[in-house]
Amino acid sequence: MKIKLARLKPAFWGHKDHASSLRKDALNFKALWYRTVFFTSIAAVVPLLFLATIDYNVTKRAAESEIMLRTGRLVSNTRRTISFFLEERKAALDFIAHDYSLEDLRDHRQLASLLAHLKATFGGFSDLGIIDMAGDQIAYWGPFGLEGKNYGIQPWFRNVVEQGYYISDIFLGYRKVPHLVIAVKKPLPDNRFYIIRAAIDTDRFCRILAQMKVEGNGDVFLVNREGILQTPSRFHGDIMGRLDLEIPPQAPATRVYQCRNARGRPLIIGYRYIAGTPLILMVIKEKQRLMSPWHQTKSRIIWFLGFSVFVILLVVTSSATYLVSRLYEADKQRLASLQQMQYANKMASIGRLAAGIAHEINNPLAIIAEKAGLIKDLFQIRGQYQNDRRLLSLADSIMNSVSRCATITRRLLRFARNDDSRPEPAAVGQVVEEVLGFLNKEAQYRGLDIEVDIPDQLPPIVTFRSRLQQILLNIINNAFAAVPDCGTIVIKARDTGSGNIEIQIRDNGAGIAAENIGRIFEPFFSTKTDRGGTGLGLSITYNLVQELGGSIRVESRVGEGTAFTVSLPKKIDSSGENVKNENLACR
């Protein structure tokens, strides 16, 4: 699992394998990644969350508003039904009062006939009575035998006298059965009057209200202004019981409001005071039930939002990783080019310095050589001291030493000579020999076995000699670093027969770990950062091989050794600049 996670980690996450001194001007890619992810995520997610929040509030308000509207409509419609019921019956009594004389109405048969007609036509009437100015019921027809009863002290009687009509709330009365009373005053000449009074069954109300289907676990009932339930309620008490909620304030129109019941559950309450009566119509719904479709939609939206945020973050993270990786690679290439340029400049400076030093040394060496030669000539040609072998041997010794110094300075000059203006024929064996000339002493001190197997008949290659020297020096130097003391380095060259010369440098050193072998030509990749490695040697070598139109490959086994094989064309393109694509496959 660890290995799998490590594979997901982008290359820029930790670049400890790069020589830190070379990365001073590099960007902090990890911080850049964090900043990119953070700001892009903010830019992408915040508007989404903002819109989602607005949508949440708007849809919530719309749902609540819709519920309130529906509740208000229900209250208004029901109020109209009840008002119509009562008004209809009041109008019937008005009609009787105007159409019949008091004498007619005092006739029991006439009263019975009228009650029968009212029951048949309107329904709900249970009795009918005539009350005189003193409050005595002077005529009555119905099942309760209330004739002769006096209502003079009843509050409703006074109300009828004052207002001309009266609709009572629901009460038990003498009959001990819930009912309401409608009474209509009939004025007579000489300021006299009488009252027609009818009792209305509450069963009729209860049926009307019970038939209503109220959503959201709803309840619809009538209550009077003292808070006594006038019709049965499903959840708030029985008829003639006290309502468990506060009576809402009087209002001329339908009102809908929200509150919480004793258990803290939110309720939607719609009410209407029924004009001309002490009745209040109330519709109560449970808000949570009503809002459940919206809650379901909300849950789906939250899931979708969460998924969207996840996808956005995934895309942002992936994009940032890709972009920063590209930037990292580009920056690495830029730094590598910079370092290679600096390296090339450094090499050129060293070359110039070496050439200058060699020139300065060669002149005094030439003087020494000529003076020693002259001494020897004087001894030999003029015959002076010609028998003094020791003097002659001393002169020879001086000349031999001068010759050795000259060899060193010439080799140095040849190597430092940066003549890359045009390709020239170069014998691979000779170039290898020149490179080894610099390393022979180290090989001797460490007891290294350097085997060179380059056939004399190998044709010279037309290339940029100094770059070839640089390539071989870098690889052979690496082989020297890889092998232990008394190790073996084999340098072979052969004609592949396909227009290329192949040079192989094989060592029996520590080898390269499999996980590193794919990265050894990358700039700044080094396993020797603690020993001053810059990670540029093989990267530069790779580029130089490309410039010479060749390819380089490596084979290695840990504990057995490494072999670098450089394949170069026998003749480089006249431009000397070769496209790099073909070599990618050779890595």
């Binding site: 110039r352 050439a355 200058g356 060699a358 020139h359 300065e360 060669n362 002149n363 060496l365 030439a366 003087i367 020494i368 050589a369 000529e370 003076k371 030669g373 002259l374 000539d377 004087l378 040609i381 003029r382 001068v402 010759s403 000259a406 300075t409 010439r410 000059l413 000579r417 940066n418 003549d419």
Partner: protein, 118 residues
């Protein structure tokens, strides 16, 4: 065969002239280019051995001037191999192979002189 040796390193060129003389080759030397031109004007030399890098005037320029005075004169260059340009310009101007790097092998010098004068 008369040889004119010109090099700003007087000690070197003097010793070289003496060694040539010991081998019966008449060689005159100077460390000054103006004097070299004067000597060439006064006397005919078969070969001029010139150092490439000299103060006042380099060997290549000196060769051009000497050629004006003595068109038949042959030239051989000496170089401390101080730089690529030095080497290349010397080789080109002198003709293929007519240069020698310091320190010299006198036998090689004599062989080349004989070759270019033969």
């Amino acid at each position: 065969m008369k040889i004119l040796l010109v090099d700003d390193e007087a000690e070197f060129i003097e010793a070289l002239a003496e060694r040539l003389a010991l081998r019966n080759i008449e060689a005159e030397w100077t460390a000054d280019v103006d004097q070299a031109l004067e000597m060439a004007g006064q006397k005919e030399y078969d070969v001029a051995v010139l150092d490439v890098k000299m103060p006042k005037m380099n060997g290549i320029e000196l060769k051009r001037k000497l050629q004006v005075i003595r068109p038949a004169m042959k030239f051989l260059f000496l170089t401390g191999h101080g730089s690529g340009e030095d080497y290349l310009s010397g080789a080109d101007e002198a003709g293929s192979g007519n240069y020698l790097a310091k320190p010299l092998d006198i036998e090689v010098l004599i062989r080349i002189i004989r070759e270019i004068t033969s």
